[in-house]
Protein backbone atom coordinates (compact mmCIF):
# COMPACT_ATOMS: atom_id res chain seq x y z
CA UNK A 1 0.00 0.00 0.00
CA UNK A 2 1.38 3.39 -0.99
CA UNK A 3 1.48 5.86 1.86
CA UNK A 4 3.44 8.69 0.26
CA UNK A 5 3.92 9.94 -3.30
CA UNK A 6 7.17 11.81 -3.97
CA UNK A 7 6.85 14.29 -6.81
CA UNK A 8 9.35 15.97 -9.09
CA UNK A 9 8.51 19.61 -9.96
CA UNK A 10 9.85 20.54 -13.42
CA UNK A 11 7.70 19.10 -16.23
CA UNK A 12 5.89 16.98 -13.68
CA UNK A 13 3.83 18.97 -11.15
CA UNK A 14 4.54 22.11 -13.20
CA UNK A 15 3.97 22.29 -16.94
CA UNK A 16 7.42 23.80 -17.47
CA UNK A 17 10.80 24.33 -15.85
CA UNK A 18 10.73 26.62 -12.80
CA UNK A 19 14.18 28.19 -13.16
CA UNK A 20 14.02 28.62 -16.92
CA UNK A 21 10.78 30.56 -16.95
CA UNK A 22 11.92 33.96 -15.68
CA UNK A 23 8.97 36.10 -14.69
CA UNK A 24 6.50 33.87 -16.51
CA UNK A 25 6.27 30.94 -14.09
CA UNK A 26 4.69 27.74 -15.42
CA UNK A 27 1.31 26.63 -14.13
CA UNK A 28 0.46 23.42 -12.36
CA UNK A 29 -0.34 20.33 -14.41
CA UNK A 30 -4.12 20.13 -14.05
CA UNK A 31 -4.31 16.30 -14.05
CA UNK A 32 -1.66 15.97 -11.35
CA UNK A 33 -3.11 18.83 -9.31
CA UNK A 34 -6.30 16.76 -9.28
CA UNK A 35 -4.35 13.67 -8.20
CA UNK A 36 -2.78 15.66 -5.34
CA UNK A 37 -6.23 16.61 -4.09
CA UNK A 38 -7.59 13.06 -4.46
CA UNK A 39 -4.65 11.48 -2.63
CA UNK A 40 -4.93 13.99 0.16
CA UNK A 41 -8.65 13.23 0.49
CA UNK A 42 -7.73 9.55 0.96
CA UNK A 43 -5.18 10.33 3.63
CA UNK A 44 -2.09 9.67 1.50
CA UNK A 45 0.94 11.91 1.90
CA UNK A 46 2.71 13.87 -0.82
CA UNK A 47 6.33 15.02 -0.79
CA UNK A 48 8.69 16.86 -3.15
CA UNK A 49 12.09 15.80 -4.51
CA UNK A 50 13.35 18.43 -6.90
CA UNK A 51 16.55 20.01 -8.18
CA UNK A 52 15.32 23.49 -7.50
CA UNK A 53 15.55 26.10 -4.76
CA UNK A 54 13.02 25.68 -1.91
CA UNK A 55 11.01 28.58 -3.38
CA UNK A 56 9.92 26.20 -6.16
CA UNK A 57 8.21 23.88 -3.67
CA UNK A 58 6.57 26.86 -1.96
CA UNK A 59 5.32 28.00 -5.37
CA UNK A 60 3.79 24.58 -6.13
CA UNK A 61 2.23 24.52 -2.67
CA UNK A 62 0.67 27.91 -3.33
CA UNK A 63 -0.59 26.93 -6.82
CA UNK A 64 -2.13 23.60 -5.86
CA UNK A 65 -3.10 24.16 -2.23
CA UNK A 66 -1.31 20.88 -1.47
CA UNK A 67 0.41 20.23 1.83
CA UNK A 68 3.80 18.52 1.37
CA UNK A 69 4.82 16.24 4.24
CA UNK A 70 8.48 16.46 3.24
CA UNK A 71 10.44 18.65 0.83
CA UNK A 72 13.85 17.75 -0.57
CA UNK A 73 14.98 20.68 -2.73
CA UNK A 74 18.66 20.38 -3.50
CA UNK A 75 21.12 19.54 -6.22
CA UNK A 76 22.11 15.97 -5.41
CA UNK A 77 20.83 12.59 -6.46
CA UNK A 78 17.07 11.96 -6.58
CA UNK A 79 17.59 8.47 -5.19
CA UNK A 80 19.21 9.95 -2.09
CA UNK A 81 16.43 12.52 -1.78
CA UNK A 82 13.76 9.81 -1.90
CA UNK A 83 15.66 7.71 0.64
CA UNK A 84 15.88 10.72 2.97
CA UNK A 85 12.14 11.37 2.62
CA UNK A 86 11.38 7.73 3.45
CA UNK A 87 13.57 7.98 6.55
CA UNK A 88 12.07 11.30 7.59
CA UNK A 89 8.53 9.96 7.34
CA UNK A 90 9.49 6.57 8.84
CA UNK A 91 8.19 4.75 5.77
CA UNK A 92 9.57 1.62 4.11
CA UNK A 93 10.48 2.06 0.41
CA UNK A 94 7.57 -0.12 -0.70
CA UNK A 95 5.16 2.43 0.76
CA UNK A 96 6.57 5.13 -1.54
CA UNK A 97 5.73 6.08 -5.12
CA UNK A 98 8.04 8.37 -7.12
CA UNK A 99 6.86 10.48 -10.06
CA UNK A 100 9.28 12.12 -12.53
CA UNK A 101 9.03 12.98 -16.24
CA UNK A 102 12.73 12.19 -16.77
CA UNK A 103 13.31 8.52 -17.54
CA UNK A 104 16.90 8.66 -16.30
CA UNK A 105 15.85 9.96 -12.89
CA UNK A 106 13.26 7.20 -12.81
CA UNK A 107 15.88 4.62 -13.76
CA UNK A 108 18.29 5.88 -11.10
CA UNK A 109 15.67 5.76 -8.35
CA UNK A 110 14.42 2.34 -9.52
CA UNK A 111 17.95 0.95 -9.46
CA UNK A 112 18.79 2.38 -6.04
CA UNK A 113 15.40 1.62 -4.45
CA UNK A 114 13.78 -1.30 -6.29
CA UNK A 115 10.82 -1.42 -3.90
CA UNK A 116 9.72 2.14 -4.71
CA UNK A 117 6.84 2.39 -7.22
CA UNK A 118 8.33 4.52 -10.00
CA UNK A 119 5.86 6.27 -12.34
CA UNK A 120 5.78 8.65 -15.27
CA UNK A 121 3.48 11.68 -14.89
CA UNK A 122 0.99 10.03 -17.29
CA UNK A 123 0.91 6.90 -15.13
CA UNK A 124 0.56 8.99 -11.98
CA UNK A 125 -2.55 10.59 -13.46
CA UNK A 126 -4.16 7.13 -13.63
CA UNK A 127 -2.58 5.64 -10.52
CA UNK A 128 -5.27 6.65 -8.00
CA UNK A 129 -7.38 3.86 -9.57
CA UNK A 130 -4.79 1.16 -8.77
CA UNK A 131 -5.02 -1.28 -5.86
CA UNK A 132 -1.91 0.21 -4.21
CA UNK A 133 -3.72 3.51 -3.74
CA UNK A 134 -6.89 1.86 -2.29
CA UNK A 135 -9.57 3.53 -4.35
CA UNK A 136 -13.23 2.76 -3.75
CA UNK A 137 -13.43 0.82 -7.04
CA UNK A 138 -10.57 -1.13 -8.65
CA UNK A 139 -11.02 -1.88 -12.37
CA UNK A 140 -9.55 -4.93 -14.14
CA UNK A 141 -7.30 -2.66 -16.19
CA UNK A 142 -6.02 -0.99 -13.02
CA UNK A 143 -5.25 -4.39 -11.53
CA UNK A 144 -3.36 -5.38 -14.67
CA UNK A 145 -1.30 -2.19 -14.57
CA UNK A 146 -0.53 -2.81 -10.96
CA UNK A 147 0.71 -6.29 -11.85
CA UNK A 148 2.96 -4.82 -14.55
CA UNK A 149 4.64 -2.67 -11.92
CA UNK A 150 5.18 -5.60 -9.62
CA UNK A 151 6.91 -7.39 -12.54
CA UNK A 152 9.13 -4.38 -13.12
CA UNK A 153 10.14 -4.17 -9.50
CA UNK A 154 11.00 -7.88 -9.38
CA UNK A 155 13.11 -7.54 -12.51
CA UNK A 156 14.96 -4.54 -11.06
CA UNK A 157 15.61 -6.31 -7.76
CA UNK A 158 16.98 -9.34 -9.64
CA UNK A 159 19.17 -7.09 -11.81
CA UNK A 160 20.59 -5.43 -8.71
CA UNK A 161 21.51 -8.79 -7.19
CA UNK A 162 23.01 -10.16 -10.39
CA UNK A 163 26.77 -10.07 -10.56
CA UNK A 164 27.57 -10.08 -14.27
CA UNK A 165 27.31 -7.72 -17.22
CA UNK A 166 24.07 -6.25 -18.53
CA UNK A 167 23.95 -8.75 -21.39
CA UNK A 168 24.58 -11.64 -19.01
CA UNK A 169 21.61 -10.53 -16.91
CA UNK A 170 19.36 -10.13 -19.96
CA UNK A 171 20.22 -13.68 -21.04
CA UNK A 172 19.76 -14.99 -17.50
CA UNK A 173 16.31 -13.31 -17.33
CA UNK A 174 15.19 -15.16 -20.47
CA UNK A 175 14.91 -11.99 -22.53
CA UNK A 176 13.04 -12.46 -25.82
CA UNK A 177 13.19 -9.66 -28.34
CA UNK A 178 11.15 -10.04 -31.53
CA UNK A 179 11.62 -7.82 -34.57
CA UNK A 180 8.78 -8.10 -37.07
CA UNK A 181 7.06 -6.06 -39.79
CA UNK A 182 4.11 -4.04 -38.47
CA UNK A 183 0.53 -5.12 -39.15
CA UNK A 184 -2.61 -2.96 -39.20
CA UNK A 185 -3.45 -4.16 -35.65
CA UNK A 186 -0.29 -2.45 -34.42
CA UNK A 187 -1.30 1.01 -35.63
CA UNK A 188 -3.00 2.32 -32.47
CA UNK A 189 -0.11 1.24 -30.26
CA UNK A 190 2.45 2.65 -32.74
CA UNK A 191 0.70 6.01 -32.81
CA UNK A 192 0.54 6.02 -29.00
CA UNK A 193 4.28 5.26 -28.84
CA UNK A 194 5.05 8.14 -31.19
CA UNK A 195 3.17 10.50 -28.90
CA UNK A 196 4.59 9.20 -25.63
CA UNK A 197 8.25 8.63 -26.44
CA UNK A 198 10.36 11.73 -25.94
CA UNK A 199 13.81 10.71 -24.87
CA UNK A 200 14.08 7.64 -27.10
CA UNK A 201 12.66 9.17 -30.25
CA UNK A 202 14.76 10.32 -33.22
CA UNK A 203 12.11 12.44 -34.97
CA UNK A 204 10.77 14.33 -31.96
CA UNK A 205 7.24 14.52 -33.33
CA UNK A 206 4.26 12.16 -33.39
CA UNK A 207 3.09 10.20 -36.46
CA UNK A 208 -0.63 9.89 -37.12
CA UNK A 209 -2.31 6.53 -37.54
CA UNK A 210 -3.26 7.61 -41.08
CA UNK A 211 0.38 8.23 -41.98
CA UNK A 212 1.37 4.90 -40.44
CA UNK A 213 -1.33 3.12 -42.44
CA UNK A 214 -0.05 4.77 -45.61
CA UNK A 215 3.49 3.60 -44.81
CA UNK A 216 2.28 0.04 -44.29
CA UNK A 217 0.93 0.03 -47.83
CA UNK A 218 3.79 1.88 -49.47
CA UNK A 219 6.27 -0.43 -51.27
CA UNK A 220 9.30 1.79 -50.70
CA UNK A 221 8.76 2.05 -46.93
CA UNK A 222 8.83 -0.44 -44.08
CA UNK A 223 7.47 -0.21 -40.55
CA UNK A 224 9.28 -2.53 -38.16
CA UNK A 225 8.09 -3.38 -34.66
CA UNK A 226 10.03 -4.51 -31.59
CA UNK A 227 8.42 -6.69 -28.93
CA UNK A 228 10.06 -7.44 -25.59
CA UNK A 229 9.41 -10.10 -22.95
CA UNK A 230 11.34 -12.05 -20.34
CA UNK A 231 10.78 -14.40 -17.40
CA UNK A 232 9.45 -11.50 -15.33
CA UNK A 233 6.78 -10.38 -17.77
CA UNK A 234 5.72 -9.44 -21.27
CA UNK A 235 5.98 -5.77 -22.24
CA UNK A 236 4.52 -6.28 -25.72
CA UNK A 237 5.23 -3.75 -28.43
CA UNK A 238 7.89 -1.43 -27.06
CA UNK A 239 9.46 0.19 -30.10
CA UNK A 240 9.45 0.68 -33.85
CA UNK A 241 11.33 2.11 -36.80
CA UNK A 242 10.29 3.40 -40.20
CA UNK A 243 12.73 2.84 -43.03
CA UNK A 244 12.80 4.20 -46.54
CA UNK A 245 14.98 2.08 -48.77
CA UNK A 246 16.29 2.30 -52.27
CA UNK A 247 17.08 5.96 -51.94
CA UNK A 248 19.85 6.99 -54.22
CA UNK A 249 22.54 9.21 -52.81
CA UNK A 250 24.78 11.10 -55.19
CA UNK A 251 27.99 12.80 -54.10
CA UNK A 252 28.36 16.02 -56.08
CA UNK A 253 31.81 16.66 -54.69
CA UNK A 254 33.31 13.39 -55.92
CA UNK A 255 35.15 13.32 -59.19
CA UNK A 256 32.86 10.60 -60.45
CA UNK A 257 29.39 10.98 -58.91
CA UNK A 258 28.48 7.60 -57.46
CA UNK A 259 24.90 6.43 -57.16
CA UNK A 260 24.68 4.35 -54.03
CA UNK A 261 21.89 2.46 -52.38
CA UNK A 262 20.99 4.16 -49.11
CA UNK A 263 18.50 3.18 -46.43
CA UNK A 264 17.12 6.15 -44.49
CA UNK A 265 15.39 5.76 -41.13
CA UNK A 266 13.01 8.71 -40.64
CA UNK A 267 11.89 7.44 -37.25
CA UNK A 268 13.21 5.26 -34.45
CA UNK A 269 11.28 5.18 -31.21
CA UNK A 270 11.43 3.07 -28.06
CA UNK A 271 9.40 3.03 -24.88
CA UNK A 272 11.34 4.00 -21.77
CA UNK A 273 10.28 0.70 -20.21
CA UNK A 274 12.65 -0.98 -22.67
CA UNK A 275 15.58 1.13 -21.49
CA UNK A 276 18.56 -0.83 -20.24
CA UNK A 277 17.32 -4.07 -21.83
CA UNK A 278 19.18 -3.99 -25.12
CA UNK A 279 16.12 -3.24 -27.25
CA UNK A 280 17.38 -0.09 -28.95
CA UNK A 281 20.81 -1.63 -29.59
CA UNK A 282 19.12 -4.69 -31.12
CA UNK A 283 16.91 -2.56 -33.36
CA UNK A 284 19.87 -0.52 -34.63
CA UNK A 285 21.97 -3.65 -35.17
CA UNK A 286 19.17 -5.23 -37.13
CA UNK A 287 18.59 -2.07 -39.21
CA UNK A 288 22.28 -2.11 -40.21
CA UNK A 289 22.34 -5.83 -40.99
CA UNK A 290 19.05 -5.90 -42.87
CA UNK A 291 20.03 -2.88 -44.99
CA UNK A 292 23.43 -4.48 -45.74
CA UNK A 293 21.71 -7.74 -46.71
CA UNK A 294 19.54 -5.76 -49.16
CA UNK A 295 22.69 -4.44 -50.79
CA UNK A 296 22.62 -0.95 -49.31
CA UNK A 297 25.92 0.87 -48.86
CA UNK A 298 24.85 3.28 -46.14
CA UNK A 299 22.35 3.71 -43.31
CA UNK A 300 21.16 7.24 -42.56
CA UNK A 301 19.29 8.34 -39.45
CA UNK A 302 18.12 11.96 -39.27
CA UNK A 303 17.94 12.76 -35.60
CA UNK A 304 16.70 15.75 -33.68
CA UNK A 305 19.55 16.91 -31.43
CA UNK A 306 18.15 17.98 -28.07
CA UNK A 307 19.10 17.65 -24.46
CA UNK A 308 16.22 15.25 -23.95
CA UNK A 309 17.17 12.59 -26.47
CA UNK A 310 20.84 12.14 -25.55
CA UNK A 311 20.06 8.43 -24.90
CA UNK A 312 19.07 8.06 -28.57
CA UNK A 313 22.31 9.72 -29.69
CA UNK A 314 24.29 7.38 -27.45
CA UNK A 315 22.67 4.36 -29.06
CA UNK A 316 23.45 5.77 -32.52
CA UNK A 317 27.07 6.36 -31.56
CA UNK A 318 27.39 2.86 -30.10
CA UNK A 319 26.05 1.45 -33.39
CA UNK A 320 28.80 3.26 -35.27
CA UNK A 321 26.78 6.14 -36.71
CA UNK A 322 28.40 9.59 -36.97
CA UNK A 323 27.03 13.00 -37.78
CA UNK A 324 27.51 14.10 -41.38
CA UNK A 325 29.46 17.25 -42.21
CA UNK A 326 27.20 20.21 -41.70
CA UNK A 327 26.32 19.19 -38.19
CA UNK A 328 22.99 20.40 -36.88
CA UNK A 329 20.64 21.97 -39.46
CA UNK A 330 18.37 24.96 -38.69
CA UNK A 331 15.52 22.55 -37.93
CA UNK A 332 17.57 21.10 -35.10
CA UNK A 333 18.33 17.83 -36.87
CA UNK A 334 21.63 16.23 -37.79
CA UNK A 335 22.04 13.24 -40.11
CA UNK A 336 23.83 10.34 -38.44
CA UNK A 337 25.13 7.83 -40.93
CA UNK A 338 27.41 4.87 -41.29
CA UNK A 339 28.72 2.74 -44.13
CA UNK A 340 27.43 -0.81 -44.14
CA UNK A 341 30.79 -2.42 -44.82
CA UNK A 342 33.16 -3.85 -42.29
CA UNK A 343 32.12 -4.78 -38.79
CA UNK A 344 28.39 -4.35 -38.16
CA UNK A 345 26.95 -4.09 -34.62
CA UNK A 346 26.39 -7.52 -33.05
CA UNK A 347 22.87 -8.94 -32.71
CA UNK A 348 22.23 -10.67 -29.38
CA UNK A 349 21.29 -14.34 -29.47
CA UNK A 350 17.90 -13.70 -27.83
CA UNK A 351 16.69 -11.65 -30.79
CA UNK A 352 14.18 -13.32 -33.11
CA UNK A 353 13.51 -11.90 -36.58
CA UNK A 354 10.13 -12.62 -38.11
Amino acid sequence: MIKCVVWDIDNTLLTGVYLESGADLPGADPALAGVLRELSARGLLSAIASRNPPAAAAYVQQLTGADFAAVECGWGSKAEAVARIAAELSLAPDAIAFVDDDMLERAEVAAALPDVLVLTPEEAAEAPGWPEFSPAVITAEARRRSQLYAERRRRQAAANEFGGSRDDFLRHAGTQLTIAPAGSDDLPRLHELSVRTHQLNSAGEPVTQADLARLLDSPGDTVITVRLADDFGDDGLVGAAITTGNGRSSRPDARVPAQRLVVTVPLIMMSCRALGRGALDALLAWLCRSAAADGAAELRVPCLVTERNVPMRLALAAAGLRAEAGGVAPDGRAIFARPLTGELPPLADWVTIE
Partner: protein
Protein backbone atom coordinates in the same frame (compact mmCIF):
# COMPACT_ATOMS: atom_id res chain seq x y z
CA UNK B 1 31.97 6.96 -11.80
CA UNK B 2 31.81 4.22 -14.42
CA UNK B 3 31.62 1.55 -11.73
CA UNK B 4 28.85 3.49 -10.04
CA UNK B 5 26.56 3.97 -13.06
CA UNK B 6 26.90 0.41 -14.27
CA UNK B 7 26.68 -1.04 -10.77
CA UNK B 8 29.78 -3.11 -11.48
CA UNK B 9 32.62 -2.54 -9.01
CA UNK B 10 35.04 -4.57 -11.14
CA UNK B 11 35.15 -1.62 -13.54
CA UNK B 12 37.05 0.43 -10.94
CA UNK B 13 40.36 -0.80 -12.24
CA UNK B 14 39.91 -0.78 -16.04
CA UNK B 15 42.75 0.67 -18.11
CA UNK B 16 42.30 4.01 -19.88
CA UNK B 17 42.31 2.41 -23.32
CA UNK B 18 39.21 0.31 -22.62
CA UNK B 19 36.48 0.89 -25.19
CA UNK B 20 33.29 2.09 -23.53
CA UNK B 21 30.88 0.77 -26.16
CA UNK B 22 32.72 -2.50 -26.62
CA UNK B 23 32.05 -5.88 -25.05
CA UNK B 24 34.15 -5.17 -21.97
CA UNK B 25 32.19 -2.28 -20.55
CA UNK B 26 29.16 -2.50 -22.83
CA UNK B 27 27.91 1.01 -22.07
CA UNK B 28 24.30 1.29 -23.19
CA UNK B 29 22.01 4.33 -23.52
CA UNK B 30 20.96 4.15 -19.89
CA UNK B 31 24.39 3.78 -18.28
CA UNK B 32 25.89 6.17 -20.84
CA UNK B 33 23.47 8.99 -20.15
CA UNK B 34 23.81 8.51 -16.39
CA UNK B 35 27.59 8.70 -16.83
CA UNK B 36 27.31 11.95 -18.80
CA UNK B 37 25.00 13.40 -16.15
CA UNK B 38 27.44 12.50 -13.36
CA UNK B 39 30.24 14.09 -15.37
CA UNK B 40 28.20 17.25 -15.80
CA UNK B 41 27.35 17.41 -12.11
CA UNK B 42 30.90 16.67 -10.92
CA UNK B 43 32.95 18.63 -13.50
CA UNK B 44 30.45 21.04 -15.02
CA UNK B 45 31.23 19.71 -18.52
CA UNK B 46 28.22 18.96 -20.78
CA UNK B 47 29.74 16.35 -23.08
CA UNK B 48 26.55 15.75 -25.06
CA UNK B 49 26.14 19.45 -25.87
CA UNK B 50 29.74 19.90 -27.01
CA UNK B 51 30.41 16.60 -28.77
CA UNK B 52 27.82 15.90 -31.48
CA UNK B 53 29.29 12.54 -32.42
CA UNK B 54 30.09 11.51 -28.87
CA UNK B 55 33.56 10.53 -30.15
CA UNK B 56 34.90 11.44 -26.74
CA UNK B 57 33.17 8.29 -25.44
CA UNK B 58 35.42 6.03 -27.55
CA UNK B 59 37.49 4.99 -24.53
CA UNK B 60 37.79 5.88 -20.89
CA UNK B 61 40.98 7.75 -21.81
CA UNK B 62 39.37 9.89 -24.54
CA UNK B 63 36.53 10.83 -22.20
CA UNK B 64 38.95 11.80 -19.45
CA UNK B 65 40.97 13.90 -21.91
CA UNK B 66 37.81 15.61 -23.19
CA UNK B 67 36.76 16.55 -19.67
CA UNK B 68 40.26 17.63 -18.63
CA UNK B 69 40.43 19.96 -21.62
CA UNK B 70 37.27 21.72 -20.54
CA UNK B 71 37.47 22.10 -16.79
Amino acid sequence: MLAQVTGRPELLGVPAGTRLFGAGVGLDSLAGTLLLRHVQRRYGVDVAAEDLNLDSLETLGTLAAFIAGRI
